[in-house]
Amino acid sequence: MLKYIIKRTLWVIPTLVGVLIILFSLTYLMPGDPASIMLGPRATPELVEDLNKRMHLDRAMPVRLGYYLLGVAKGDLGTSVWSGHKVSSLIADALPHTILLAITSLGIAALIGILLGTFAAVRRESPIGGVVTIFSLLGVAVPDFVAALLLMLLFCVQIPLLPALGAGVEGDLVDIAVHLILPATALGIGWVGYLSRLNQESMLDVLDSDYIRTARAFAVPKRAIAYRYALKNAVIPSITVIGLGVGKLLGGAVFVEIIFSRPGLGKLIVDAVYARDFPVVQGGILVATILFVFANLIADISYAFVDPRIQYD
């Protein structure tokens, strides 16, 4: 297993190199001349030339790729073409909002989803099964950005209970929490449905298995069977799904942040796309991708730990 973990971890390096190459070629192909955006229409040719030289825009493509990789290796993501701020500081400002949103929504969704799914499987006759069905139907039918729009329509416009825009005043925890409710719900509701259904099904599978029957034969208390023996194996599928889900979550965060006007990473990227601010687009996507890659890595490795029955070669 150690060999698998090392191999899996090392594989991140070529993947990230490939990611950087794709990001570079995307922005290389991006229309819009950075010099004319930065300097405005009244720039003199000398100024343009000087800027192109400073940003290495006059060099051939492979040389520029080299400069780009070198910069990223040093932690330098470039400067915003519009505002002149460092891209890394723009991202550092935006990232906490996105991470807070993602962790809140996924955390609460995973908790509710796994609990619901487990209860529905353990008490098959109770109405919880119906709740799971409703949630999973909602999760399928209402994608996160539609959920965000509908929640905003309902709780900000029709019944003005919650704030619609922004992330709350910095330092005021209550304000931040109140501003988090709707975006986190919009992002998490699909996950509740998905995880509860997944957990219900795997729990039912596990409860049917031989070792649970043996435990029953030994008169192990019902509750201990469900929560000590079965649940451990039943949550395994959820763990992998959560790892893969980080990518979906970051994607969903783009829409939710735009709709609720939260100053997070997704809004940063989309605003930069509108403004043709390519260093910010590049840096933002890079950071989102790195987050996703490491989330997947952690999910894969924890999968190996949780389920030692799986053989790796």
């Binding site: 490939g18 950005f145 539609v146 729009l149 416009v157 994607g251």
Partner: protein, 305 residues
């Protein structure tokens, strides 16, 4: 007499060949019949059918021109003239939903088909050449593209290429092909060990023929199931990109653009958000029920239950 028997045998072989070779239309009919038998599959099938009819026959079904403006009656509620009301330019919402269905189905179908073709091609190539350099290269390629959060990569590609219908199809297909590729590669690894592939190899068949005739048809079932599920995802993403203004261009009716306009006028007219949301919800449920039915119908293990 000898030639007679030979001829008879030949004729016999021909007839068995004929019975063995099932027509595509038959396969389709049998599959659809078993999809309909699955719980929920019938409803999924009906609504997918309605969507396809709307997409193909939008100009005959929709009550009015989706871009005709009735500026006097803008923000109107449901009425006999406009069943679902009108938007901020007085355009008929029902007609725009029907035409939006066409865009959604077109983009989603184009994107899943393109990504499945590219993905299956690369996956089979990799799987058949397991352990060789080209296999590692293909795995690397898949892993790179899979590393990006999908919708973020798609919006970056549209930002580079410029928003248009074709570019959206291309961008969505680009983000999805590794998933088909990995599926196809994994299936190829098991199929290529099968006796009939070994036999074809022993007969000295060309590699390309083995891949096309003997491997690809036998890995398609899970790919088709995936296609069905992905249709739903792609419909969401098309409207998502259009919602951000990075999808199809505005005068075109798309559910995402309708939501974008609804978001602008959220204080004036809740119906402008409500109707496209309903359309998306119906499409999502329809395609998931249908593809779930498809999964059960194409899985021999499930069919026996």
């Amino acid at each position: 007499m000898k030639t007679d028997t030979i001829n008879q045998t030949k004729a016999g072989m021909k007839s068995t060949q004929l019975t063995l070779k099932r027509k595509w239309s038959d396969t389709l009919r049998v599959t659809l019949r078993s999809v309909v038998k699955v719980k929920g599959g019938l409803w999924g099938g009906i609504f997918v059918g309605i969507m396809l009819v709307c997409a193909i026959g939008a100009q005959w079904i929709s009550p009015s021109d989706p871009n005709a403006q009735d500026i006097v009656h803008r923000f109107a509620g449901p009425s006999l003239k406009h069943f679902l009301g009108t938007d901020y330019l007085g355009r008929d919402i029902l007609s725009r939903i029907i035409y939006g269905c066409r865009i959604a189905v077109m983009v989603a179908f184009g994107a899943v088909t393109l990504s499945a073709i590219v993905g299956v091609f690369l996956g089979v190539m990799g799987g058949y050449n397991e352990g060789k350099k080209i296999d590692y290269f293909i795995i690397w390629l898949f892993d790179i593209v899979r590393s990006f959060p999908q919708i973020i990569l798609a919006l970056a590609i549209v930002a580079v290429l410029g928003p248009s219908l074709l570019n959206v199809v291309f961008a969505l297909a680009f983000t999805a092909f590794p998933f088909y590729g990995r599926l196809a590669r994994a299936k190829t690894l098991s199929v290529k060990e099968a006796d009939y592939v070994k036999a074809a190899e022993a007969m000295g068949l060309k590699r390309i023929k083995i891949i096309l005739r003997h491997i690809t048809p036998n890995i398609l079932a899970p790919v088709i199931v995936c296609l069905g599920m992905d249709m739903a995802t792609m419909i969401i993403w098309e409207s998502g990109l259009s919602f951000l203004g990075l999808g199809v261009r505005p005068p075109t009716a798309s559910w995402g653009i309708m939501l974008r306009n609804g978001y602008k006028y959220i204080l004036t007219s809740p119906l402008m958000i409500l109707w496209p949301s309903v359309a998306i919800a119906v499409a999502m449920v329809a395609f998931s029920l249908f593809s779930e039915g498809l999964r059960v119908a194409l899985d021999p293990k499930e069919r026996e239950r």
